[in-house]
Amino acid sequence: MSATEITTAAGTASAVTPRGAKPKSAFAPRNIMLYGTLIVFSIYYLLPLYVMLVTSLKDMAEIRVGNVFSPPVEITFQPWVKAWSEACTGINCDGLSRGFWNSVRILIPSLILSVSVAALTGYVLACWRFRGSEVFFGILLLGAFIPYQVLLYPLVIILREMGLFGSLWGLVLVHTIFAMPINVLLFRNYFVALPEELFKAARVDGAGFWGIFFRIVIPMSLPIFVVSGIIQVTGIWNDFLFGVVYTRPENYPMTVQLNNIVNSVQGVKEYNVNMAATLLTGLVPLVVYFFSGRLFVRGIAAGAVKG
């Protein structure tokens, strides 16, 4: 009897006060865990950037006595100046500045050519399939897995036969070739996801291969161009191997100079100059990331995930 009463009482109580946990406040244990984990990971990811920055602002005396994580006692920009314009490789002492402009001269044509070729190829594969086109696509994808070293030598021969070896255009071509697999995949997947009927409507409207590409497809493809562009900017800018193998010294990109500065130790390793040089070299892709990160995620969602 009393047992029944208790159940009833409990039942009544539960009818009055809502059941379940209350909506979480900002400091609920779950949130603390969530943000805690994120912050711990952020430290791991930010640490190197912090170390680079701090070290590049110290002078060598301070580096020798302090630890890598302590902030600079006295901020000096000398390492940056030295990395940019004074550091020596062999008998050339003009720092990274020369390489920077070389990298720009390599980047722009390579970027334009590699992205346009990839976009065009992706367009053919998505919208104008022909007998065997899928086979070629398969070959391209397999190409993504071939270690660069395997093709280094055959490419020397190909470029030599074309008379492009050592020229800027040879390097542009190499970048375009190695960019093809992954970028064609991105573009193709993105274009395949575009509504097929749009493409049909344009054909009925009398637009041809190029008309559809330029008037219909490209205006709809900003996100994937951003993704491909970002991947290419970082890839081309950060390249060392191709730059050093396929060009001559007057065209050496910035990374080659970075390697020269970091590796040509004259006396003591100047860590501060190395770090400044490292940061300077990474600056262009970093800036590109910080400004287009959001578009990047959106483009990845559209191009890489489907299909």
Binding site: L34, L38, F41, S42, Y44, Y45, P48, L49, V51, M52, T55, N67, V68, F69, L120, T121, V124, L125, F130, S133, F137, I139, L140, G143, F145, I146, P147, Y148, Q149, V150, L151, L152, Y153, P154, L155, I158, M180, G206, G208, F209, W210, T234, N238, F240, T255, V262, M275, T278, P285, Y289, F290, G293, F296, V297, I300, A301, A304, V305, K306, G307
Partner: protein
């Protein structure tokens, strides 16, 4: 109007090649790169792996000699083992970490943009830069070890780059730092593509969040995982710059990798035949992994 223009209607089918001629024209770069560079280059490499080419390629056949030597070379065996260890651990960790971070970011948190940028920015930096920075942080005299010792724990030892048994860990720390961001973005994009209703259904069914991820969400994201897998694997096979920048294969030969063996034999040792044999073996390995996958993809499409 359009009728007037094309009075002489074509009644016969045009030659196949010239139908949509522009598209065939636009496919030329793909055909040239695919056949000329990837297939051609690969065949060229395989053919020359059966020769005794030294500095310059020449066709003097030696059968399988290069392969016999390759598989009796300690450095190659160590390289393969390293790549296997690094590859498996890095693949698993990159996927897990990438997914974890993406899942955390997908919990409708504040400052998502900031966190995402923090996780992604290392991807903008080259392996050369990555290697340098981590070499610096892991340096026992300046980096983490000396800091912790400075805090009073004098017995603390953490010098992965100078310890043959730990050097792979050093590489992993740097490799994961650089590579997880991209995978996180891909996973995040995949998570965003999942229907909100799925989440609602799971909440109504009372399935805990972690279980929803494991049982419902991850199986739904199969294509995303495949994309991520392709990206990570193709990167692992090519692992080279990071090792060169961080350890140069050292200490000793404890962090050597196949790509470095290929590069060194081809160019430094001036033994093309041997280098080509090694790169052929790398290709074979890739093919063993890829062909079943490609076959499965192909069969799925058929059905």
């Amino acid at each position: 109007m359009s009728r007037a223009r094309s009075g002489g209607a074509r009644a016969r089918p045009p030659i196949r090649l010239f139908r949509n001629f522009s598209s065939k024209l636009a496919a030329i770069p793909m055909v040239l790169v695919g056949l000329g560079v990837f297939v051609g280059g690969t065949i060229w490499t395989i053919v020359h792996s059966f020769t005794d080419s030294r500095l310059l390629p020449r066709l003097r056949w030696v059968g399988f000699d290069q392969y016999e030597r390759l598989w009796s070379t300690r450095r190659w065996l160590v390289s393969i083992e390293n790549l296997a260890v690094y590859g498996i651990v890095s693949l698993v960790l990159t996927m897990c970490l990438g997914f974890l971070l993406a899942a955390l970011l997908d919990r409708k948190i504040r400052y998502e943009d900031t966190f995402r940028t923090i996780f992604l920015y290392p991807f903008a930096l080259s392996f050369i830069v990555t290697g340098l920075v981590w070499q610096w942080i892991l340096n026992p005299e300046f980096g983490i070890q000396s800091i912790v010792r400075g805090l009073g724990i004098s017995g603390f030892n953490f010098d992965p780059l100078y310890n043959p048994d730990l050097v792979i860990i050093g590489l992993l720390i740097a490799g994961l730092w650089q590579g997880t961001g991209l995978i996180m973005v891909i996973m995040l994009a995949g998570l965003r593509g999942i229907d909100e209703d799925i989440w609602k259904a799971c909440r109504v069914d009372g399935i805990p969040v972690w279980k929803t991820y494991v049982v419902v969400i991850i199986p739904m994201m199969k294509p995303v995982f495949v994309t991520a897998l392709v990206l990570v694997t193709s990167g692992i096979v090519k692992l080279y710059d990071l090792v060169v920048a961080m350890t140069s294969g050292g200490p000793g030969i404890s962090s050597e990798v196949p790509a470095k063996y290929v590069y060194d034999t081809l160019f430094t040792r001036q033994n093309l035949g041997q280098g080509f044999a090694a790169s052929t073996m790398m290709l074979v390995t890739v093919a063993i992994i890829l062909i079943p996958w490609a076959y499965m993809q192909f069969r799925e499409k058929r059905q």
